[in-house]
Each structure stands twice: as structure tokens, then as C-alpha cells.
Symmetry: C2
Subunit: 624 residues, 2 copies
Amino acid sequence: MQYHLNGFRPGDPAVALQTPSATDQSDVDVLIVGCGPAGLTLAAQLAAFPDITTRIMERKTGPLEVGQADGIACRSIEMFEAFGFAERVLKEAYWVNEVSFWRPDAEGNGLHRADRIQDVEDDLSEMPHVILSQARIHDFYLDVMRYSSHRMEPDYDRELISLITTEDPDYPVTATFSCLDTEGKIETIRARYVVGCDGARSVVRKSVGQELMGDSARQLWGVMDVLAVTDFPDIRLKTAIQSQDLGSMLIIPREGGYLVRLYIELDALQGEERAADRDVSPDMLIQKARDILSPFLLDVKEVAWWSAYEIGQRVCDAFDDVPVVERGQRTPRIFIAGDACHTHSPKAGQGMNVSMADAFNLGWKLAAVLRGQAKPMLLDTYSEERRAKAKELIDFDRDMARLFSAKPKNAGEAAQFQIYFKRHGRYTAGVETRYDPSIITRTTKHQTLANGLTVGMRFHSAPVIRLGDGKPMQLGHVLKADGRWRIFAFGGAEDVGQPGGGIAELCDYISHPTNPFGATVGKGEHVDSVIDVRAIFQMPHQEMKFETMPSLLRPTKGLYRLVDYEKVFCPDFKNGLDIFDQRGIDRQKGALVIVRPDQYIANVQRMTDFDDLGLFFVSLMNPN
Amino acid sequence: MQYHLNGFRPGDPAVALQTPSATDQSDVDVLIVGCGPAGLTLAAQLAAFPDITTRIMERKTGPLEVGQADGIACRSIEMFEAFGFAERVLKEAYWVNEVSFWRPDAEGNGLHRADRIQDVEDDLSEMPHVILSQARIHDFYLDVMRYSSHRMEPDYDRELISLITTEDPDYPVTATFSCLDTEGKIETIRARYVVGCDGARSVVRKSVGQELMGDSARQLWGVMDVLAVTDFPDIRLKTAIQSQDLGSMLIIPREGGYLVRLYIELDALQGEERAADRDVSPDMLIQKARDILSPFLLDVKEVAWWSAYEIGQRVCDAFDDVPVVERGQRTPRIFIAGDACHTHSPKAGQGMNVSMADAFNLGWKLAAVLRGQAKPMLLDTYSEERRAKAKELIDFDRDMARLFSAKPKNAGEAAQFQIYFKRHGRYTAGVETRYDPSIITRTTKHQTLANGLTVGMRFHSAPVIRLGDGKPMQLGHVLKADGRWRIFAFGGAEDVGQPGGGIAELCDYISHPTNPFGATVGKGEHVDSVIDVRAIFQMPHQEMKFETMPSLLRPTKGLYRLVDYEKVFCPDFKNGLDIFDQRGIDRQKGALVIVRPDQYIANVQRMTDFDDLGLFFVSLMNPN
């Protein structure tokens, strides 16, 4: 964390200096509808910019307290680190360290533990896979919003009743809300952009004429959070149980050491039957869970929350308001994210994660366009990128749900699920997401310069030592959710005897006022405010001299032009493998890695291909 | 963190269910005078017990905002982990990773870096050495107090004007405060115990007739926190500079990446001269710092805080109100802690740490006596233990201050300080504290069973895997500040084929109602509420069966008699060395380690010396 830049300020450094709030403003830059994981991620992202006004409206009367999603993929915690609250999640959450698989023995009797495996493979992420109530994740986001310069708070009791696009050049979308806390009262807000994060029954989605398309698999499931006593030995492990004839159950231990979530397979729905028609009750779920777990005992003492749902894999045609025929002709003004544009079963633990990833993808793009940095066509990439990922997810989910519900006829069949599960560990960890080539994701032409940092995938962190203060840390943790692009320059052989070498040349290029970057940065602003350049050298940090670094790597900033000492890194040799080995960096040539504000790798290129670097940003950014 | 034991409860699990508060009560169990690090540590410790009423009074008008202490030893962060806020400190603080030493070259010219070393040796602690404003540490303690069942808040604007002991059998100490916020108003509080954490000019100390004895070294020092621009390359490393003729300076980089603290040697005081006589000003300190740092430049942009002080090493004869002749005849009622009973220079970074350690030593003892668990003689050990440590500290500080201020005549002399500094790294990390044998610290008779867990020293954590959920974690992090004793049973060879073996026998013994423990536990309470038993086996956790563990290691608790799955551990083999090797546990015989509620090791003994175990607790605890 860097602070005190413009003078010492006592108190919590996470609390920003206050600027005028958007609360009660009727004209805003961004209007978010819905306070779920997507809406809150987006609000927290936009809260980082004092020059953007945002409001977030929610139909419910207050913050979520119980239930709903709880699985948090490694990738989401990497993102939470960017928002500054990963450590709170890691502290409270249950950590999924292992997964166990139980099924009848070869004769079809009883239940036995068929396997017990590590949940997340080594070095998949610096973060674990954890389980924590969605309500707590909401709380953490609400704190980020509350501590921002806007002191942003959601407006509750606001139900969207209409959303129309007008000819107004500044605020072309008008939203009308019914104020549920004041009978008959209506609130109208005009916005430059509107984002519907309003769930599977999204009013925003309907207003742009989109609908969720796909199967309803007709399989009924129950879910409940319980405090229970059992002699089942793996009750504190994530466990998949496939009984002989009574269906399947997934055990997800929860935070706090005692609570546990059970996903329980119920019967297939018939004809036009809906989940609500079945009169599912907690007692029914408890009885079914006891049957599946038999001969082990399950004594449920308290049901903290429960629900019943059908599995259905559905997705919209587009995640914004631009019809196919108009694509490229005009930029989108209304977006949808999260459950509003894709639904799937909760068992793969993807729901909250994918919704947050939607919003993280969209947030920086909206900010860059609103702040005049990027061309509006950047906004087209949201629907392109995230719809492709949603389709992958529902395909994955359909396979997984089918395998999990299949009655295993023999051990071989039962083991299919287990094999599938293992193979897809990377996918469920959220680190397999790979965006296709576009204006913000280039090709893999120079991928061999950094084989472990794949273009289109998230920047995979590794341990380093920060030169300025010798601190051992994760390189990926410099990727804060501040809307900045990042350039990581990994030094090649000629940088070993620095000063000089490719990194010095790169810094000269970037610093030079006539380069294509200069034009993208606001007057009087340092390039660092838009593009954060970091360098990683191959030598032990004790052999490096900070004072010989190019001035771009020790920039002066803020009111007092203080020096930023946090731009240069070296391998952490105590770690066994160093980052050059861990991420497959070409030690001879080095590598230049361009990282998007959402932590995805835009390009890997040669250090001194300055034209490529310049063109990348010029194609995307507005001249200032 | 364990929660939801007595039913699911939404919200922040750190916030306890509210019980009636002691605020405004005029009769309390413990009255704390002073809101510094000692007072707040004690208040946070006592806040853990809903059955103890505590008030804490402070002369200042509100919480500390700037300045004062900033060095936080590894040992203190281990303690913060017990209070539940270590991660907040680690996130905000500057990490002291390396120390550099600068002095003139062999010809006495300029300054050069003579050495640059790792600050904390490997495996000294699982926690780093960090720097963070004392004000933030206060904030974290205030949050612990605020979130406790008492919702404890300090009373500010309360100046202690008298403290007397009466014959009242229940509340024998009466304190009178002047309410500085309401002219002429007086507040009187009666307490069972009073603890003076009211600093070097302690009124509580004077009221018990104690005084600080020792030298005033007459060396004047200045300290300031600055935002500055410099070409001195090690400005973000802890750096000791010994100039040829201009004195010495210590650079302590601060949190946030820009702020830095400078300790600057000024001239020796003459005769009766005091620090205040010298008219020290920030400009004077800046000029002196520039002189010492020359030929490097220092451009100070803002002075966030500054002070000037004399070094003096002083300590009281006793840290409570029992005169030598009455020792053992009556138990103490008034205690002093922190700067109230010892003063020393700030440069070894010990001030805040030792004060907090005083209070952590006292807190659990007061709680155990107030709750009727322990015999009142336990309270005598506070002054015995902590006065011995204060004397060690001032001896260390005197040596260090002398060496630091010595004008080095040649490189050999200059290097003396550096050698001394390295040798004492363990001491300044706070992990060398070793209490002498007493009723709560036994002899080292069986020390060889666990050579790395020294009787009288703090429990040195190491990585383990928790059996119940396969979680990799630090074993020491189960040592929460909850007033409980802990028994760590490290399994020997016969425990490898568990069930059976020494751990099973030990659990039988402890669980048996006729053992000496039974009597120390309240009616209807589980032994676990007073003594927390944990077992560590040698085998990989995948080879262990939770369900065959003795019932003491899977105790049922709370309203629903839910099972606690967090008592059993195995080595973390991914960690290279396993805990049995790291802490020198006898693999044949195993070891039983008794740990005090303040994390210090009371005894290492043989697993099945039940009589020794029973006698240890019987000698200390009250029958119930």
C-alpha cells in the first residue's frame, strides 16, 4: 500500500479523502441496477475514480445477510487482492484443501472413500480456493465503496420499472424506479451508461430485448446450510457422494468450523412441473441427506438457510444493447452482467465468481471511456469477451451436472465423474479463462518469450524481491484495481550488467515526450498515472544498485515530487525456482508483458519492439 | 476462526454478541489508567471475558493520531495474531527486511555502505519485523475492544488525581479522576484491581511509592517523521549511519512507501541542562540530518511529527504495590506496566513492544484470578517476571546507545556497533525473552524431548496440516488470547500406529472425572474451556483417521454439542523440514508441552507423567 504521497494523513489509509458524493444525484455517469456480486464488483471498481459518478440501486431492503453462493475460486481472490480485501476473505473463509469422493463399494454396498485428492494443484495460483458466505463478500465490497472518495452507498428499496434510451447526448439512458419504502414515490435517474446486475429475472435484460436461451435440465436440487452432528469422517472436507440408488450429494464445509452446506439431488421434474410445485421443505432435504449419507448418521441441529432450484444452462445472445446489425455502428449504452445474462447450476461453485469476473471485465473499460482515455469501441469487447466465457461455463456445467447426477452402474462409471472433476480443477479455479484476440488481446506471436504468461489469460503471479526495500512479495499484487495498464519488463541478458540494456532503452522510449504514449496522458500528468511500468531483473537484489535505474523506474510523484521506490524487482532466490524459471521467461532476450487493468495479459512482445508497443496503445487510446 | 457454534449468526464474526457494558459503572473488576500500548493490550485482553468488567481511562482528549513509537518486533506480531489483527498490521506496515550500515571510508572520508544484512534470521519467527505508527496499533486494539461483548470504549479527558487502598473487601482500590471536559467535575471509581499504564510520569506509580531509578545518560536525540527527496540510495532500508565527526543517525522507513523516520544524535547535555533547554526545532533537526547524510542530499518537504528526548535507562524496584517485606503475605491490588515502570531509548525499537508484553503477561493472570480459576498468588509472578525483563532491556539499551553514539576512531571501532547489532537480532525481535522458574514456569528437566520449544520462552510456531480439513497452517496460531492454557501432545513412536499410544492414554487421563483437572473446571463446563488440548502426530495426514481419535480430541461443544474438528495436526511435509525436526521433538518418546495463556512455555514433560501434569495445574488452580 502506498500512501502519504501528498502529505501525512493520520487514520486508516484505506479511507480515501472525501470528494462530493453522487448520492441523490439524478444525472450520473454509471447507473448500476442490483447489489449482487456483479453489481458490487462494478461499483467498487468505479468507486476508485473520484471523477466518475456512480449510483447503485437494489430492490431488496438492505444488504444480504444469509445464503446463496459461497464458493470463491482462486482467481476471485486474486481479484480481491486488487480491491484490497483478500486478507479478510482468507482469514474468515473455509479453505478447500482437499476433495474426497465417496461411493458404494464394488458390490454396491454402503459408502467408502474412493479417493481423496488435493483440490488446487501446486502453483496454480498464489491464492487458495475458499468458501465464504456471499453476504460477507458483499460486506467487503460495501466497505471498499464506503471508504472511497465518494463514500458510495447503495440505494435500497428501489425497483426498476422502466429503462429507456433517449436522444440526450450526455445522459442517453433514463431509468425509473419505484421507491418501495415510500408508497407511490418514483425516482428517475439519467445515466451515460446503465449496467443491469439484477439477476436471472433481470428487468434491464428485458428492456434491451435480450432473453436467456438454453435448456432447463429439469433436475431438481436442494441446498441447505446446517449445523449438524455426524459420524461421517469427511464432514470437514469438500466431498462428493454418489449413492447407489438414492442420488448424489455434495458436502461443502463452511467458514467458522461448524457450518456445512449440503447440495442434495432430488427427483427429476416432469413435464411442466416447476421447483415450486414440489413443496420442498427443510425436513424433506434433511431426510434425503440422511438417506444418501447412510449408514453414517446425520443429526441436523439447525438449518441456517435452504433453497430448492432447477438446473438450467442458459445464456443471452449479447451482453449489451447493440443489435447484431448495428454492431460497430454505435457503442453500447446498456450492459447486463452476472445472472442477468447467464444461469447455470451452483455446484461447480462458479456463480458468484463468473458474475464478479463479468463486472471486473467491464468496470475498467467504462472508466477508461468515461475518463476520455480510451476510444468507445473498447466497450464492444465486454460482450464479446464475457459471452464467450459464459458459453464455456454452461457447457462445462452441463457436463458436470450430467455426470454428477448419473446413477453409476459400476465403479468405472462412478470414477468418470472423479476423473472429470480432476481434469477441470484449473477451470473451476477460474484461471483457465483466456480471451480471444481483439484490440486489447493480441496474438501469441512472441509467446515463447514468456511461456508461463499466456496472452489472453490472467497475469500469473510469482514471488519476487522488491529492490527498493528488499521486501519479499508476490509480483501480481502490484496489479491493483486502479484502472491502470501495466508493463512488466523482464530483463534479458544485456540487462544483467545494468545500467544500459533493453530496459533502459524501453524506459527512454516510454519517457520521451514525442512517443505515441505521451498523447494518451493528460496534461501535466506523469505517464505512470495511466501506464504503470515495472522492471524485473535476473540478478540477486543485493547486486543491484537502485540509484542507477532509469528515471522512469524511480518516478517522482504528487505534491512534493516524492520518489516512488516500488517499481523494480528481482527474483526471490529463497523460493527455489525463481520467477524467470517459474514463468518461463527467456533469459537471453527478456520479455515485455502488457497487462490490462483487469489483470489479463494483452500482449507478450520483444522488449525493444517499440513500434508494436506504441501502436498497441495508440490503436486503443484517445490522443489527449 | 471458529464461530456459529451456538447457531448461525449473520454479519462480522469478529463482533461478539453484546453483553451489558461496564461503561459508566463505578465499581469494576479492573481499572486501567492510560490508553497507550500497555493499557490497550490489557483492555483488549480483558475484553475477551464477558464476566469481567473493565474500564480504561485516558488523560488525553481522544485517540492518538501521530508520532511516538513505530517499531514492531516479530514477537509482538505473534501476539497480535492471538488478538486477531496481525493481518491488518502486516498489510499496512513497512517490512524491515534488511539493515544497512554506512560510515566513512578507511581514510575517514564521505560515507559508504559497509554492510547490508538480513534483518531477521530465518525461522526466528513466522512473523516479520515491521514498522507502523503506534496510532494504528491503538486503532486495532480499539477495534478489538469495540467488537467485544462489552463494546468497550475508553473514557478520555480523565486525569487521575488520587488512588487509595481501602479496607473494602470487594473493591479495595478507590481512584478519583478529574474530568477535563467538564470543569470541576470529579469521577470516582472503585476497583478490585488497578493497573497504571500511565507513562513515564505515572501517577499510579507515585501512589504506590515507586520511582524510576537509574541513569540519565545526558545524550540528547531528535526524532522526526518526514516526507523528503534524497539521493541516498538506502532511504527505504533501515540504515545506521555513523559519520566521522557529526554524530550518528538511524533511518527507519515508514509505512506507505514515502514517509521516513530519522533518529538524529544531538549534543550531550551539560550539567543540569534538560532537553527542553536546547530549543530544539525541526529546522535544527533537518540541518543536522543533512550534515550527517552529506555528501548525499536531503530535501525535507514535510515534517509530519518531531520530538527531542534524552536517553535514560531507568526501572522501578517492583511493578506492583506490595512492599518487599510484605511479599507473599498479601496479593497485589495495584500494578504498573510499560513506561510507568521502565524507560529507555527508542532506538532499539523496544518501547511499545515491551510495554505490550508487560500487559500480555498481566492480563491473563488478572482474568484467571478474577474468574476464580487460579490462586491469587499467580499475581505475584507479574512483577517478578516483567521486572527481570525490564532490567535486561535497559542493560541492552545502555550498551547499544553507547556504541551507537561512540565516535568511531577507525573502521574496526565502527564495526563494533554492527557486530553488536547482528548478535542481538534475536533480542530485538522479542523472541529471546525467557522467564525464570516459578509456579508457572518449570525447569528444563525434560527439555531434550523438545529442544526447540524452550521452557520459559514463547511457543515457537511451525507449519502443520490440520487433520480435520487438511488445512496448511501455523500451529502457533491456535494460541488465541482467550485466557486458556494449552497442552500440545507431540506423538512418539507408539502413537504412529494410533489408536492407542501415549496420546490416547493422556486423553483418557485428562478426560477422567476424578483427575486433578476436573476440579479446576466449572460445573457443566468441558475441560476444553480452561485447558485446550491439541495433538500433533508424526504421520502424513492422509494416513490418519479422524474417527479413531480419542473423544477429547474431537470434543462436543456449545448449545448443540457440535464437534470441534480443529484439535489434531500432522506435519506439513511440503515444507521441507517437518515440525518434529524443526522444533527438535523426540520422535521416539514424543513430548508434552504446556503453554501458558500468554503463549509462553510453562513446561516440557514426558507424555505419560500424569502426576506431574496434574500437580502442575493443582498447584496453581483453585478447586471449583
